[in-house]
Symmetry: C2
């Protein structure tokens, strides 16, 4: 404990640590620069897999040796979504500027629960910038969160409080009658989780049919609202989606907003995928988003920020704060000092301690500008349409849905496959997804569309080039017959 | 879109970016190495504060210029909790190893929702390591989360489902009778937020009186449970705290566990502050934690991980999964490929997309070892007791609570201050906290203890040395009279 002793967990030898840190930077930049020459993903060898079974280390091995373990056992077997041909689920690839910002944020380590310091101003500015980017009022209340799941949860929580009133917070839902939240059958599963967590129950989530283009059928919605009212169920909110998870479909936001207005429903828009289309050439698709009462956005998807960062925007700041604010004595705000500050973010969401995820968004928007982010969207959208055109022109490939945002759903359907029934086609395409993944060429995933298994290509990746799309189609051609063989052999 | 064009948001000039990245590393390590010579915190000058008001930048200024903005406007005015004398609220300081891990995690950018890749194995191992560290069953279910707020929320959500049954998820709480969750009056405010968010309502949180040492009064708890049962209210869970936010008090976990067992209540332990005492010389304090049904821990507090990372552990894996799991077609698990893997973390919590916060914990435990983390706790505990002894020996300082963990609550109470009433003493100490903060010497914060305003010193910082404690006491001596003058002059 004397002054000369090394600090608790700081390096005893700063110069040695500095050398290590520079090596880490070089290794990581080497990786990023040449990543497209590596497989997107590879399965863990058994010995590596087994190496994570050991007990808690009591003695340390030092930073350098620990990093060697990361290099040997973690880096080569990561998920792969920093690669140009990762198109699974829906994720961005991250950016080098975002990575640097994450390092700065980690070292500064501010707690974004609140207080009077520059990182809080950064987050406030990021909230305003994002509102401006998506055409939402810039005086809206906003909070950066872990992603759209949390943003959607918070939006619905505010809706619950705003519609049902303050007794929800004080007395809970035990005395409340049944309520309903509407969303299309294509809505993301996180909304079901939100309804459950909030105590509304899955039954409160009313799934509205979609049209052929996978957008919410507004007439069906109107009928369901009327039927619920007649049955004594209180319509609470409607969730419209700007970019569905399966096909990237954008609901007719203006039509939904008209209905919400007419019916007095809270309008929440889930813009996890397409929320930032306002920066792109297809801003027309999301103009109605400005009418939402609350809005969930993801920055780590099409906006390419490193995971994790999402954003919830709420038009009515008072309603937002009234849903979450608790200020005990040990969190009292001051008029001077560090505990000053107008906005304490912990009053607007679940977390008290909050990371400085704002910095990666701030620095990326400063460095690249909003237009470059819009250009990424235009570029990956064009790539999706290129893929769709190749699929449409190919005798053995079949497209299963319209291209929404930059999502393409297709399947391998060989022209000479009269003998394959729908169930076998599903099995073939499930196998094909696995073969593509195992080939290391690309990561795509599966979904179900009207009962048929689809190979889902969700580009969302600023690193993808035209040549990557071509290579992917070649790979489908190459592996398709193998998938058929695997399934038909299995079936023998 | 041709192959020669620079990637979307990757640098056009990788070498230039590499130079920048190395400079960032040098700047940050310079900062960390010499941080104790700077003020802990300083107020933002008006021109800097005003500089965050501008609109969304459409054109980028490049990475280097963006970093210059970070250096000029963010770094000098951060919160300060990377400094050796930051003892506000309760936070760790972060560690250089954790910072490096955050950079690696940001570049790899894996989505920890699930899948078959090494980062998932890292998180699984971290969960087991932490369980082992705190003496909890290593086959417990666990999930890294943003912090204890979320960990406590998840613990209570599992309790709600486990006790009330699956209809909570399907049908919500509208048909449920009143329930009660018990915790001491010293419990963290996040538990109230959890009760509200889960639809139980604030009224469901029954605050049990504490004893003189600020630990939960178990006899009073027993009486409250009996009274609630008699009133037809269903006791659901009891929350015991291992390290309260105000004074670091550790509830008598075994006594609470005995009662929970007797009464059939879910036992949740909030170990945000003291949860890892099992690694320290005071492991005896938390032995009863092993009996909890669920347990919330923070890694970014006494364990010093960079913000954000907490952990929830649940004894019954099936109950944990049954609370959150939803697996739609687009998240279907596979038996091979990237979508294989036994555990999909998104089935155990709120988030689908999840960051790789596991790496900073894994790398720190590997590099330093668990014992070094325990030694940090012993060291800051000793520093807290040193401060307490200095306060007790000082004629103008008064201690307001027993030292719990490494938290000291005190006030300035000048020996010649017969003329100051309690209200004035509160005002003096509130002013003193501000003066200390503004001096740049240390960050401490205030709380209220039995109606008296306390200067709260929550060390929790691996960088703090004995000399820092001495400097702090000197500073209280120096600024105390100024605080008195400010208050008594105001009062004139």
């Amino acid at each position: 404990m004397d002054a000369a002793a090394p600090e608790g967990l700081d390096p005893a030898d700063w110069d040695g640590f500095r050398t290590l840190a520079h090596r880490v930077v070089d290794d990581l930049l080497d990786r990023l620069e040449h990543r497209r020459d590596e497989p997107v993903w590879q399965v863990l060898p058994d010995d590596v897999r087994g190496s994570f079974d050991g007990p808690l280390p009591r003695e340390g091995i030092g930073a350098e040796a620990a990093y060697a373990e990361v290099l040997a056992r973690v880096v080569p077997y990561s998920m792969g979504n920093d690669h140009a041909r990762f198109w699974g689920w829906y994720m961005g690839a991250g950016t080098p500027v975002g990575n640097l910002a994450d390092l700065v944020a980690s070292v500064l380590n501010p707690n974004m629960g609140g207080g009077d310091h520059a990182p809080v101003l950064v987050e406030q500015q990021v909230v305003r910038w994002c509102a401006e980017a998506v055409g939402y009022p810039t005086d809206a209340s906003g909070l950066l969160v872990s992603g759209a799941s949390e943003a959607n949860l918070i939006g619905l929580a505010v809706a619950r409080s705003a519609v049902l009133g303050p007794t929800v917070r004080s007395d809970g839902l035990a005395g409340t009658g049944r309520v309903a939240v509407y969303a299309s059958t294509e809505v993301h599963s996180c909304h079901r989780k939100s309804c459950e967590l909030l105590g509304l129950g899955e039954a409160a989530l009313r799934l509205v049919p979609v049209r052929d283009d996978y957008t919410l059928d507004v007439e069906a919605l109107a009928a369901m609202v009327a039927a619920d009212r007649a049955a004594g169920i209180r319509p609470l909110a409607v969730v419209a989606t700007a970019g569905t998870i399966n096909t990237g479909a954008v609901d007719d936001l203006d039509a939904v907003a008209d209905l919400a207005e007419r019916e007095g429903l809270w309008l929440h828009v889930d813009g996890a995928i397409g929320g930032f289309l306002g920066l792109s050439g297809r801003a027309d698709l999301v103009r109605g988003m400005a009418r939402a009462d609350s809005l969930a956005l993801d920055l780590h998807k099409w906006m390419q920020a490193p995971i994790d960062v999402g954003l919830v925007l709420v038009r009515d700041e008072a309603a937002h704060r009234a849903t979450f604010s608790v200020v005990p004595a040990y969190l009292r705000h001051a008029t001077r000092g560090l505990a000053a500050g107008d906005v304490w973010f912990n009053e607007y969401g679940i977390d008290l301690t909050r990371g400085f995820r704002a910095l990666k968004v701030w620095m990326a928007l400063l460095a690249h500008g909003a237009d470059a982010h819009g250009a990424v969207m235009d570029r990956t959208t064009a790539l999706a349409h290129r893929l769709a055109a190749l699929v449409d022109a190919h005798p053995d490939l079949e497209r299963l849905a319209p291209v929404g945002c930059d999502v393409v759903c297709l399947r391998y359907h060989p022209r000479d496959a009269d003998s394959l029934d729908e169930q076998q086609l599903d099995a073939v395409n499930r196998e094909l997804v696995l073969l593509v993944q195992e080939s290391g060429v690309a990561i795509v995933t599966e979904t179900a569309l009207r009962g048929r298994l689809a190979v889902r290509v969700a580009i969302g990746n600023h690193r993808t080039r035209s040549e990557d799309i071509d290579l992917f189609v070649d790979t489908l051609e190459r592996l398709g017959p193998r998938a058929v063989a695997a399934v038909t052999t299995d079936g023998d």
